[in-house]
């Protein structure tokens, strides 16, 4: 197994040292990549795909979790059994010997030779004072290649990636975008890595160059059997090049499985949104942008934007409160007041019929209203009680896995 990662977590402090709040960049992600496999991480900016890729390339340390790099399958099997049985001792012992996070400095250097990384913005990841030739040569020099080895490898790379000789002595700022990406790929491939991490390798390119780069990657994959992890926000791209796909949203894995299956038969509402947008026929009207709340999201991270979310998806009392405020606020009703008290929402100045009418009218757009369990008319106000939300699990559906409440066992047919 090339890479096996379990329960990776990473949080960042954002907002500066004085005022910061924690951002959960990656929350409990597990992933396995075999040799020759191309996996695509699909998600929008901020979904954690770049962070995950950096962690898997051993450039960033996760806060918790385990990574195995290029270990025999029996280690993986044993580890997974220990994980299921919650056998912490065996897990620790296997980690001590095989974990990629435990290596000595020399061991790490050894592993790093086998990993190649292509950053999204190649221009800012290269030394602008080095020529193209030096840029590609650098990893080889660090790994102590002889001059003859360097010469041979350079020729191979020139052929595989398609770099003309006259570019070799230019500087990065003199190159076109497509050429810059090629240089980045050549550098990533310099030491014949068995694993490549490519972070949005074609996002800044026009379609012609995009296809050229993707075709190069396909060729290299079939020639060297290198595993590849490609992040993108374009699911059509994943469809073109990747055998397996993992859809991420705000640090969580929402769906993962073989590309063909996930794209042709998406199960998770977010995946459905991505595929229909890519096919340019959206089935429903995506009406509003996410309102920027500042608090932590509970339950399923997608529930605020999900067109089919319902009561157990993660609606909290604060969210319902804000939505009620937004719906009734602009109407400027006399005596209108909204409070939260003892786990219930109290609504003044509105009678039960008005509220029920409002809920039924807006339910399809403001899904938080699904979380309203009961409305009691008290003397001067309405007392609103909510359903409890549940934490969300990964469910197996066919060959894929989906993290969605829709697949819980006892979900009644609401749709």
């Amino acid at each position: 197994m090339r890479i096996a990662a379990y329960n990776l977590k990473k949080t960042y402090e954002s907002g500066g040292a004085a005022f910061g709040h924690k951002v959960r960049s990656i929350n409990d992600i597990s992933l396995k990549i075999r040799e020759g496999q191309i996996v695509s991480l699909v998600g929008e900016n901020g979904s954690g795909k770049t962070t995950l890729g950096l962690i898997l390339s051993l450039l960033l340390r996760p806060d918790s979790g385990q990574i195995f790099f290029d270990v025999p399958d029996w280690v993986i099997n044993r580890y997974e059994i220990a994980l299921l049985k919650k056998d912490l001792d065996s897990m620790r012992e296997l980690g001590k010997d095989y974990s990629a996070l435990n290596k000595s400095k020399l061991g790490l250097m050894d592993i790093r030779k086998k990993i190649g990384v292509l950053f999204q913005d190649v221009a800012s990841s290269v030394d602008p004072r080095q020529t193209v030739y030096d840029i590609i040569k650098e990893p080889m020099v660090v790994s102590k290649y002889t001059d003859e080895q360097i010469h041979n490898r350079m020729n191979e790379l020139k052929n595989d990636v398609g770099i003309d000789d006259d570019i070799l002595h230019r500087y990065p700022h003199e190159l076109s975008d497509g050429q810059k990406q090629k240089i980045g790929i050549a550098r990533a491939l310099a030491t014949n890595p068995i694993f490549l991490f490519l972070d949005e390798p074609t996002s800044n390119l026009d379609p012609i160059n995009q296809r050229i780069i993707l075709d190069i990657l396909k060729k290299i994959n079939s020639k060297t059997r290198a595993s590849m992890l490609i992040t993108t926000h374009n699911i059509a791209l994943a469809n073109y090049i990747a055998g397996d796909i993992m859809v991420m949203f705000k640090g969580e894995t929402e769906e993962k499985g073989p590309t063909k299956e996930v794209i042709n038969n998406p199960q998770h509402p977010y995946t459905k949104e991505l595929t229909s947008v890519a096919a340019r026929k959206a089935n429903y009207d995506i009406l509003y942008y996410e309102r920027p709340y500042n608090s932590d999201v509970k339950g399923c991270v997608y529930h605020r934007m999900c067109p089919v979310s319902f009561e157990i998806c993660g609606w909290t009392i604060d969210e319902v409160y804000l939505d009620l405020k937004k719906s009734f606020g602009p109407l400027d009703l006399p005596n209108f007041k909204l409070k939260i008290e003892k786990g219930k929402i109290l609504l003044y100045g509105v009678n039960k019929d008005q509220l029920v009418k409002m809920i039924n009218l807006y339910k399809n757009k403001i899904r938080s209203f699904y979380a309203i369990k009961d409305i009691k008319q008290e003397d001067e106000h309405l007392s609103i009680e909510l359903f409890d939300y549940k934490e969300v699990q990964m469910h197996k559906v066919g060959n894929a896995e989906v993290k969605c409440h829709l697949f819980e066992e006892d979900v009644s047919t609401l749709f």
Binding site: G43, E44, N45, G46, S176, D177, G178, S203, N204, L205, D206, P207, I208, N209, Q210, R211, L214, H233, N234, I235, A236, L237, N239, Y240, I263, E273, L274, T275, V277, A278, A279, R280, A282, I286, L287, Y288, Y289, E290, R291, P292, K326, P330, L331, D332, L361, Y362, K365
Partner: protein, 377 residues
């Protein structure tokens, strides 16, 4: 009826000067734009599309020079052929007419760029930055809006709402034209055109227009603007009024676009890329321009945000009677959207025509390659 031509470019040549040499970026571009039409400009990165867009706005960087050609916007020539002094009192050959372009820029012709985050001031709220466009070009409009609300006839509003209730829209429209001044009309239309509100909400909001909320000091300041602007305390009150009205107008525009007005008080670093793009669009349309240039507005966004963006564009196109110039490198984006497509390769237009004929019947190799390369599901 012949549509009026709003923008005509003939033989535009632009060069970029670096220390050692000179690069020809635009090599004689011809281009035209009529009223109410959307023209797409497509080409690979580096073909000169962004440079073209910047030239139209007069926003070329200092190392770029227009060396030939003409740009005519709404009947005025933008390039003059003589030595002129620019705002730094230095002599420049062939520059855009500064006063001419500054009057049009931001009012008649506006631009939405890629990467909204770096095009917004990080220290000011996004609402303020939308308000700035109005502040500069049409401060009067804000004052008149407040005024019109103070003076509006509540009875007329009530009657209008009654007409809406009766669903007799033709009579309601006539009533609207006959009984309200343009500023109230605009505010009413900004409410009725929103599709994130119920009819009930809309009627309540229309009636709310008549509920005056100004204090007596504010009313004094408003009716004696000349005096008030000279006394520091009163001037502050006047400016606050204008600022709030600016936020109000910006909120209406955002409402039309289906967005939450509360983001107006947030700063750029608190909002996502898609929302910042929407803010840029809002500041581009707030002054009711005739031409909007969109320079790859969707390339920094993920597909869902892109989709929302284009939905938004169709909506505002219809509402505001705009002509759009859409610069893109992905020709498939233009298929649904543009009336005509111009293909630019290496600084020159190699093909231009109706969208359907360019997409389906092109005889140009470059165009065909662009169409074929797009990766779809």
């Amino acid at each position: 009826m012949e549509k009026k031509e709003l923008l005509t470019v003939k033989g535009l040549e632009v060069v970029f000067e670096s220390r050692f040499n000179q690069i020809d970026v635009l090599k004689g571009v011809d281009f035209s734009l009529k009223e109410n039409e959307t023209v797409g400009l497509v080409g690979v990165n580096g073909s000169g599309k962004s440079t073209f867009a910047l030239s139209l706005m007069g926003l070329l960087p200092r190392n770029a020079k227009i060396v030939n050609g003409s740009i005519n916007i709404n009947g005025s020539d933008m390039i003059i052929n003589e030595f002129e002094k620019d705002s730094y009192n230095r002599k420049r050959h062939r520059i855009l007419v500064n006063e001419g372009i500054e009057k049009l820029r931001g009012r008649f012709i506006t631009m939405v760029t890629q990467e909204a985050a770096s095009y917004l001031d990080p220290l000011l709220t996004v609402g303020y930055q939308i308000f700035e466009s109005v502040l500069f070009h049409n401060k009067e409009r804000l004052i008149k809006r407040i005024d019109s609300r103070e003076k509006v006839d509540k009875g007329a509003l009530l009657n209008y709402v009654k007409l809406l209730n009766s669903k007799d829209y033709k009579i309601a429209d006539k009533f609207l034209d006959g009984n309200f001044d343009e500023y109230i009309r605009e505010q009413i239309l900004n409410i009725t055109r929103r599709d994130d509100l119920t009819d009930e909400d809309k009627k309540n909001l229309i009636l709310a227009l008549g509920r005056a909320k100004l204090s007596s000091v504010q009313r004094f300041v408003l009716s004696h603007k000349g005096v008030a602007s000279r006394i520091p305390g009163l001037r502050y009150i006047l400016n606050q009024l204008i600022l709030e009205e600016g936020y109000q107008l910006a909120g209406e525009i955002l409402g039309l676009m289906g967005l939450d007005p509360t983001i107006l008080h947030m700063f750029p670093n608190q909002l996502s890329g898609g929302m910042l793009q929407a803010v840029l669009i809002a500041s581009a349309i707030v002054n009711n321009p005739r031409i909007i240039i969109m320079d790859e507005p969707a390339s920094s966004l993920d597909p869902i945000a892109q989709y929302k963006l284009f939905n938004l564009l169709s909506k505002i196109k219809a509402t505001f009677n705009l002509s759009l110039i859409l610069v893109a490198h992905d020709i498939s984006l233009l298929t649904r959207f543009a009336d005509r497509i111009a293909v630019i390769e290496d600084g020159a237009i190699v093909e231009v025509g109706d969208t359907s004929s360019v997409i389906n019947n092109s005889s140009n190799e470059y165009t065909k390659r662009l169409i074929k390369s797009v990766i779809n599901i």
